[in-house]
C-alpha cells in the first residue's frame, strides 16, 4: 500500500513550497497565555475559560495534511466524530468539548477542523507543548543538585514551587513561544533570544529585548538576551538547560552534546556500546585523548561526539553547592565566586576544547564555529525535522519513537516541512489522522500495537479535573505538623501535587520525575489508581461544596438541581447531565447507566444529599473515561 501525502495548501504564504525549511524570519508575535495553574500570580479560583467556542465567521481553516493510515481502513476501528473530538479536546486542551462544539461536529463532521484550530490557538496548547518537551529535556526535576539555591534575589519568591515554575521552565517557554506563535520550529535553536521570567533574569542575568509589535508573551515572561556573553542560539544558550545537564570533570561536555544529538536529531550516542577499556588507562588524559582518535571502537562515536561537544566549552558548571557557599545569609561574598546573577558562560574558556580534546567544533563533519552556526546546522539537518515530527507523533499517540513505522515517519516529516516547520499544522495532521482517531485495530494488524485508548497523563488529569470542578490539588507540605521538623515552613511553598514528586504524585501517577524516571508510563498501577481516586474524591467534595452555594448559572456541574431535592426524576436528569459534562457520554435518564449511578447516589443519601452527590461525582471523576481518552 502506498502511503501517500496529499499536498498541503499554503494558508497565507509568500514563499513557495519546497522540501527544505525556508530561510528564517525573525518576526515575532507576542502571545498572552492566560492562566494555567503554574502561572505565577494566578488568581485563587480556576477561571472558567472553557474550551473555545466555534466561531461563527471564522478565517479559513488551517490546512491539514493527510497522513497515510497505519493500516488499511478495514483493519481500523475509528471513533465516531464526537468521540474523536472528545479525544482531541483532552489531548490539545485538557478539557471536554463544549456542548456547542459537540453539536457542531454531530451536525457536520467537517466542523472538526475549525474546532481543532481553536484548540491550537488557545493558550492551553502552549502548556501541552511544554509538557511534551519536558519529557524530552527533563527539566522539571526536583533533585537539589539541579536546583539553584533560593538565596539572595531568589529568596522569598514563593519557595521551591515558584522557583520550579519560573527558572527551569525557561527553555520550555521558548519552545512554547515558537510553537504557539507559528514560528518555524527550528527557531527553538536559532532564535536570538530567550523567554525568561523575572526570577530567571535574576538568576542568570539577562537584558530585556523589545517585543515585536503584536507579539504576545505570557504574563510574567519576557524576551531577553543573556548577559554572560554566550552566542544566542535558542535553548542551546540556556543556563537552565545546562544546569540540568551539567558537564563534570572529564566529561568535557559530551553529555551535553549527547542531549543535543538525541533530543533534536534522534541520533544519540548512548544507545551504542562502549568497547572494552581493558588496555586503556582512563586516568591518563593523554592516553584517553589518543584512544579517542585512534582506537576504532572509540572513534566511531567520538569523531562526531567530541566536535559537537566543543561548541559548549564556554559553559561552566554552576554547582549549587558552590553558590550556597558564596552566600552569607542573603549577602553574597563575591570572592567566593558564585553570586547571582550567575555567569554561566565564560567566553575566555570557550576554546579550552583545544587543550582538553583537541577537536575543533564541527557538526557531524560539517564546519561550525560556535553555538549560532551549530544552531543553523541543526536547523538545516533533515534529521531535525524528522526527529521533531516523530516526537510530536509519539507524544500524542503515546508510542515509542522506535515503533513509528518508517512510512508514517516520512509522511510526518513531509507534512512538517510542507507546513514550514510550524507545529500547529503538524499537530493538526496528527490528531485529525485515522491513526489518532483509531480506537482499535484488527488482531494481527501492524497498527494494533499503536492505536487504542490513550492514557490521561498526570498533567492532563490535573487540567481536566480543574476545568470540570474548579479544584486545584495543591498542598503546603512545609507547614508545621505535616512535614519533618527539618523542613522550613516556607521552603516548599504551595506545591501542585500532580506536577511534583517530592511531596506530590506525578511519578506515582505515571509521569516522569526527570531524574530516574525519564519515560512516562501509560499503564495503570495500584498507586496510580490511588492517586486518581484521591483526586476524584477531593475534587468531588470541592465542587459539591462550591456549586451548592452558587446560583445555578454559575455552577460548574450541578446545574439543574438544588441540594435538598432528591426526587428521582430530577436526580436522574442531573445524573444524565453529569455523564454528558464529565464523561462526554450521552445517556438516557431512564437508561441502565443512570440506574447504576442512581443506586450509588442512594447509597450516599444516608449521609444527606450533598454526600450523595459527592459520592457519585467521586465515582464519575475516576471513571475509565477520565483515566483514558
Amino acid at each position: 500500500m502506498v502511503m501517500g501525502l496529499d499536498r498541503v495548501e499554503a494558508r497565507t504564504s509568500d514563499s513557495p513550497m519546497s522540501r527544505s525549511p525556508q530561510p528564517l524570519s525573525l518576526l515575532l508575535l507576542l502571545a498572552s497565555l492566560a492562566g494555567c495553574a503554574r502561572e505565577p500570580g494566578r488568581t485563587s479560583a480556576v477561571e472558567r475559560t472553557g474550551p473555545p467556542e466555534v466561531a461563527v465567521a471564522s478565517p479559513p481553516a488551517r490546512p491539514v495534511a493527510q497522513l497515510g493510515p497505519l493500516a488499511p481502513p478495514a483493519e481500523l476501528t475509528l471513533l465516531p466524530p464526537e468521540a474523536h473530538l472528545v479525544r482531541i479536546a483532552l489531548a490539545l486542551h485538557g478539557t471536554r468539548p463544549t456542548a456547542a462544539a459537540l453539536a457542531a461536529v454531530r451536525a457536520d463532521p467537517e466542523a472538526l477542523g475549525r474546532i481543532v484550530d481553536g484548540y491550537l490557538d488557545d493558550p492551553e496548547f502552549g502548556a501541552v507543548i511544554r509538557d511534551m518537551w519536558n519529557e524530552v529535556l527533563l527539566l522539571r526535576v526536583e533533585a537539589n543538585r539541579y536546583k539553584l539555591p533560593l538565596l539572595g534575589p531568589l529568596a522569598d519568591r514563593g519557595g521551591d514551587a515558584a522557583y520550579m515554575s519560573a527558572v527551569p521552565e525557561e527553555p520550555l517557554r521558548l519552545i512554547e513561544y515558537v510553537a504557539v506563535n507559528d514560528r518555524p520550529f527550528s527557531e527553538i535553536v536559532t532564535a536570538d533570544h530567550a523567554i525568561a521570567s523575572e526570577m530567571a533574569i535574576d538568576a542568570w542575568g539577562a537584558t530585556p529585548m523589545p517585543p515585536d509589535p503584536g507579539a504576545k508573551l505570557p504574563a510574567g515572561w519576557q524576551k531577553v538576551a543573556w548577559d554572560s556573553g554566550q552566542p544566542m542560539a535558542g535553548i542551546l544558550s540556556s543556563g537552565a538547560l545546562w544546569l540540568r545537564h551539567p558537564s563534570n570533570g572529564t566529561n568535557n561536555h559530551r553529555g551535553q552534546a549527547e542531549l543535543i544529538a538525541e533530543s533534536l536529531l534522534c541520533s544519540g550516542f548512548l544507545g551504542r556500546d562502549v568497547p572494552l577499556f581493558n588496555n586503556i588507562d582512563l586516568s591518563d588524559e593523554d592516553a584517553v585523548k589518543s584512544a579517542l582518535t585512534t582506537n576504532e571502537s572509540c572513534v566511531s562515536c567520538h569523531q562526531t561526539l567530541d566536535p559537537l561537544a566543543s561548541h559548549l566549552f564556554g559553559f561552566v558548571r554552576m554547582a549549587p553547592g558552590g553558590i550556597r557557599k558564596s552566600y552569607d545569609g542573603d549577602r553574597c561574598v563575591k570572592e567566593r565566586g558564585l553570586c547571582y546573577p550567575l555567569s554561566e558562560y565564560r567566553p575566555q574558556v570557550a576554546n579550552s576544547y583545544r587543550k582538553k580534546t583537541g577537536r575543533e567544533p564541527n557538526f557531524f563533519g560539517l564546519p561550525s564555529t560556535d553555538l549560532r552556526t551549530l544552531a543553523t546546522q541543526i536547523a538545516a539537518d533533515p534529521r531535525f525535522s524528522m526527529c521533531s515530527a516523530r516526537r510530536f507523533y509519539a507524544y500524542f499517540m503515546q508510542v515509542d519513537l522506535d515503533d513509528i513505522p518508517d512510512a508514517t515517519a516520512t509522511a510526518l516529516q513531509d507534512a512538517f516541512i510542507a507546513g514550514e516547520l510550524r507545529v500547529k499544522p503538524l499537530v493538526k495532521a496528527i490528531v485529525m489522522s485515522d491513526d489518532f482517531r483509531a480506537v482499535g485495530a484488527r488482531e494481527g494488524s501492524p497498527a494494533a500495537a499503536l492505536v487504542g485508548r490513550k492514557t490521561t497523563r498526570p498533567e492532563q488529569l490535573e487540567r481536566l479535573i480543574a476545568d470540570l470542578t474548579g479544584f486545584l490539588w495543591h498542598a503546603a507540605p512545609g507547614k508545621a505538623g505535616k512535614a519533618g521538623k527539618a523542613d522550613k515552613a516556607d521552603q516548599f511553598g504551595e506545591v501542585p501535587l500532580m506536577q511534583t514528586d517530592r511531596f506530590g504524585y506525578r511519578a506515582m501517577a505515571g509521569g516522569v520525575d526527570g531524574f530516574q524516571i525519564t519515560e512516562p508510563s501509560f499503564a495503570y498501577s495500584p498507586t496510580r489508581m490511588l492517586v486518581l481516586q484521591t483526586l476524584a474524591a477531593e475534587a468531588a467534595a470541592y465542587v459539591v461544596e462550591q456549586d451548592f452555594v452558587a446560583a445555578k448559572p454559575q455552577r460548574r456541574l450541578l446545574q439543574t438541581i438544588d441540594a435538598p431535592y432528591t426526587a428521582e426524576p430530577a436526580v436522574r436528569a442531573q445524573i444524565a447531565a453529569l455523564y454528558e459534562r464529565v464523561l462526554a457520554e450521552t445517556v438516557r435518564p431512564d437508561g441502565p447507566e443512570v440506574d447504576a449511578a442512581h443506586a450509588l447516589f442512594l447509597q450516599g443519601l444516608a449521609g444527606g444529599p450533598r454526600r450523595a452527590w459527592t459520592l457519585l461525582l467521586t465515582a464519575l471523576l475516576q471513571d475509565p473515561r477520565i483515566a483514558f481518552h
Binding site: K482, M529, D623
Partner: protein, 413 residues
C-alpha cells in the same frame, strides 16, 4: 580513610577462626522473594567486591579476606561493617565480578542493569518476577513495591507501585496524614465509609468491565486490576504505618520491605541505598558509603532472618557500572566511570562464591556461562546474561523480555 596510590595491603585469608561456620545457602520451600538494592551512582568495586593491587589499580587500605566458600572481599578496620556483614553472611553470598555494562552513562547503564535491555520501557527484573508470581499468588496487593524510586515496570505497571520519595503513598490511603491543603484548594475532604467505598468500587469496576468489551481496551485490564489492588493497599497496616514526609534510608526501606513480604502484600521490592557513589572527586566517600551500605545490609539481613525469610529471599545488590582502576586528576582525586562492575547476591539459595573475572586492571575477562569461571574460551559476561540468569534462578523464563541471550548460571544453583 585515606587512599594511598601505591599502597596495598594484601593479607592472607586471616582470621578464619573468627568467621562464622559457613552455612550452605539453599532456597527453602515456599514462596520466594526478591529484594533489589541499587547503589545509584556507581560504586568502586575495588573497595570491596573485587579487590585489586597497586600499581595496576589505585586501591584503598585494607586486606583481602577470603572465606572458605570462595568469597574474597576487601575489608578494613576503617570499614568494620563490611567485615561484619561477610563474617555473618559469606556462607550465603555470591559475588559476581567482571560484569560488562557497555555504557558509562548513568541512566542508560542503570536501565541495562535492571532490565537486561537498553530500553526504559521494558520491565526490570523485579517487575518481571512480581508479575509472574502474582499469577500464582493473586492475593498480593502490591506484588512489586518501589520503595527507593526508579524501578521500571513498563507494561507490567499493574503489579508495581511507588511509595514516593517521602512516602507520600501514605497520604493517599490515610487522609488524616495528607499534607495540608494549599490556600487555593480549600474545602472539606471526602472520606467514604466502608459501605460507600464498596459501592463506589463496584460501580467503577462495572464501568471498567463494560468499557473493556469495546475494541482497543487492553489498557483497561490494568485499570481494573489496579482497582482491586488499590483497595487492598488501603487496608495494609504496614503501609499505613509508614512515616510520611521523610526520605527513607536503605535500612528503613528494607524493614518495610520485609514487613510487606511477611504480610503477604509484596513479593519483590526495589530499594535505593540513598548514598553518594558518584565519586568523581574525593574517593574517600566510597569508603564511607561502603561502610554505611554494609551496616544497613546487615540490618536488612537480620530483619529477613527474624522474619524467617532469609533463605527464601534473594537480595541482589547492584550498581549501574563501576569506577576506573586509577584515580583522576581532580583536586580531591576520585574515580570516573568504568563499564565493568560487580554484583552481590545473598540469600534465597544462591550458590556462594566468587564468579566472573577481571584482570589486574579491572578489565572484564571471558568466563564460562555455566559456572562463571574464567576461561579464554568463554565469553564476556554482559548485563543481559546476568539479568537473564537471575530471572531464570527466580523461576521466571527470561526469553520473553531478554531475548537471544544466554543466561548466566554461575551463582544460580
Amino acid at each position: 580513610m585515606s587512599l594511598h596510590r601505591r599502597h596495598f595491603l594484601f593479607g592472607a585469608a586471616a582470621g578464619l577462626g573468627a568467621l562464622a561456620v559457613p552455612k550452605v545457602s539453599r532456597a527453602a520451600d515456599g514462596p520466594r522473594f526478591l529484594l533489589i538494592v541499587f547503589a545509584q551512582g556507581a560504586w568502586d568495586v575495588t573497595h570491596c567486591l573485587d579487590p585489586k593491587r597497586a600499581p595496576a589499580c589505585d586501591v584503598p587500605e585494607g586486606a583481602v579476606t577470603a572465606y572458605p566458600n570462595g568469597v574474597r572481599v576487601l575489608t578494613s578496620a576503617a570499614r568494620p561493617s563490611v567485615r561484619g556483614f561477610f563474617d555473618a553472611h559469606a556462607g550465603r553470598c555470591a559475588v559476581v565480578n567482571g560484569l560488562w555494562i557497555g555504557s558509562v552513562a548513568h541512566n542508560p547503564a542503570r536501565i541495562r542493569m535492571l532490565t537486561g535491555t537498553r530500553s526504559e520501557r521494558n520491565p526490570d527484573i523485579g517487575a518481571i518476577f512480581a508479575a509472574t508470581t502474582a499469577e500464582q499468588r493473586p492475593q498480593l496487593a502490591l506484588p512489586y513495591v518501589d520503595l527507593g524510586g526508579g524501578a521500571y515496570a513498563g507494561p507490567l505497571a499493574s503489579v508495581m507501585g511507588r511509595v514516593g520519595s517521602t512516602n507520600q503513598l501514605v497520604t493517599l490511603i490515610d487522609r488524616s496524614k495528607a499534607f495540608r491543603a494549599g490556600p487555593r484548594a480549600p474545602g472539606s475532604r471526602f472520606a467514604p465509609d466502608q459501605g460507600e467505598r464498596d459501592a463506589l468500587n463496584r460501580f467503577v469496576a462495572a464501568r471498567a468491565e463494560a468499557a473493556a468489551k469495546a475494541p482497543g481496551s487492553a489498557a483497561l485490564a490494568g485499570y481494573r486490576g489496579s482497582l482491586d489492588r488499590a483497595e487492598s493497599l488501603r487496608r495494609d497496616p504496614q503501609l499505613l504505618g509508614m512515616e510520611v514526609g521523610r526520605t527513607t534510608t536503605l535500612a528503613q526501606q528494607g524493614a518495610l520491605a520485609v514487613e510487606l513480604f511477611r504480610g503477604g502484600v509484596s513479593c519483590a521490592a526495589f530499594l535505593d541505598t540513598r548514598l553518594d557513589w558518584d565519586t568523581h572527586d574525593d574517593i574517600a566517600d566510597q569508603g564511607r558509603s561502603h561502610e554505611q551500605l554494609f551496616a544497613e545490609l546487615t540490618q536488612i539481613a537480620g530483619k529477613l532472618d527474624a522474619a524467617g525469610l532469609l533463605e527464601r529471599t534473594t537480595v541482589a545488590v547492584l550498581s549501574e557500572f563501576g569506577r576506573t582502576p586509577k584515580l583522576n586528576d581532580q583536586a580531591q582525586p576520585g574515580k570516573d566511570h568504568w563499564p565493568v562492575t560487580s554484583a552481590l547476591l545473598f540469600g534465597g539459595g544462591v550458590r556462594p562464591g566468587t564468579y566472573g573475572a577481571t584482570d589486574d586492571s579491572l578489565g572484564a575477562l571471558p568466563v564460562r556461562m555455566d559456572d562463571g569461571t574464567q576461561a579464554d574460551s568463554g565469553q564476556l559476561l554482559r548485563f543481559d546474561n546476568f539479568t537473564a540468569g537471575l530471572l531464570e534462578f527466580m523461576g521466571v523464563s527470561s526469553k520473553r523480555w531478554i531475548s537471544n541471550v544466554e543466561p548466566f548460571h554461575g551463582p544460580f544453583a
